[in-house]
Amino acid sequence: MKAKVLVRLKREVLDPQGDAVRRALGTLGFDGVRDVRVGKLIEIDLGASARSSVEVTERLKKMSDELLANPVIEDYEVSVSD
């Protein structure tokens, strides 16, 4: 079973990295880029598991709350596939 955790800065948290990328895109001639936010994708291989995808999702949420994301500044989304 494989999982992906998408971690993003919360909307209200300033993302200077995204802003730098937006400005660089403008410099390269890509006009019309209004906003850029940079997040991170964490891919996790859980191997063979007898757990249901609901259980795995709950486990991933716990991992995200405890380590993968910082709830003060970040939101996350979990997706699971076979």
């Binding site: 300033l14 200077p16 990295q17 380590l67 910082n70 003060v72």
Partner: protein, 235 residues
């Protein structure tokens, strides 16, 4: 004469300000020893625990995040819960927020640069490390992720309870709105723990603690902590 106050400096893989932390603690009269992150207990009768600056665990995932899994952490938490003094400087401050021992978070400087400069600070909260400090202190900063962030409710609580320990300011002590890194309300350091016994700050007091450094303002925090302990004001 009573036995010297013991201080423990936790060394993580990637810590790089532990030696100056040890030296400054000793200058202030502490019996300072280092503790490896894989240890699971603090030395007997430790009065103060310091988490030094650096790049613990390579800053992987987020600065300070991996420390949540550090074997020494439960002992540090227990020390703080008992009212024992804890000081986190720079990466140490990042660690304290990441493990939930202090509120808020430290994230990328608003201008994205690694900020290495001298700054003015003004103490804005009375506590074990700030008692008797002058109105302004000159200390160095050296960080890329030092922008303090907290939501409105947390900020209201911090300010209402006098937990904002330090703000960036100008040479006259007038607080700055964002400091050198974009910190909300110019916050440079915060208190936490059951009795303001936990302090985290981004500037490095241990790097401005003797004449050779061009100033010794930073040593005043360690002197204040020592006075606090000698008067039995901390558990």
């Amino acid at each position: 004469m009573s036995a010297a106050m013991r201080a423990a400096v936790v060394v993580f893989p990637g810590s790089n300000a532990d030696q100056e932390m040890l030296r400054t603690l000793r200058l202030a009269g502490f019996d300072a020893v280092s503790v490896w992150h894989k240890d699971s207990s603090l030395p007997a009768s430790t009065e103060l625990v310091a988490l030094p600056g650096g790049f613990s665990y390579g800053d992987y995932l987020r600065c300070g995040a991996i420390c949540r899994a550090s074997p020494i952490l439960p002992a540090v938490r227990a020390h703080a819960a008992r009212g024992g003094l804890v000081l986190g400087v720079c990466n140490g401050f990042q660690i304290l927020t990441e493990v939930g021992m202090l509120p808020g978070a430290l994230t990328r400087n608003a201008h994205l640069r690694f900020e290495c400069s001298d700054v003015w600070l003004t103490p804005t909260g009375e506590g074990p490390f700030t008692r008797g400090l002058p109105k302004t202190l000159a200390l160095p900063i050296a960080h890329a992720e030092g922008r303090y962030h907290a939501d409105h409710d947390t900020l209201a609580r911090l300010e209402g309870e006098g937990l904002v320990a330090f703000r960036y300011c100008d040479a006259d002590g007038v607080p700055s709105e964002h400091g050198p890194n974009g910190s909300v309300r110019g916050i440079a350091g915060v208190y936490g723990g059951p009795s303001k016994n936990v302090l985290g700050l981004m500037p490095h007091p241990e790097r401005r603690s003797e004449v050779l450094h061009g100033g010794a303002d930073g040593k005043l925090l360690f002197d204040a902590a020592m006075r606090t302990l000698e008067r039995g004001l901390a558990a």
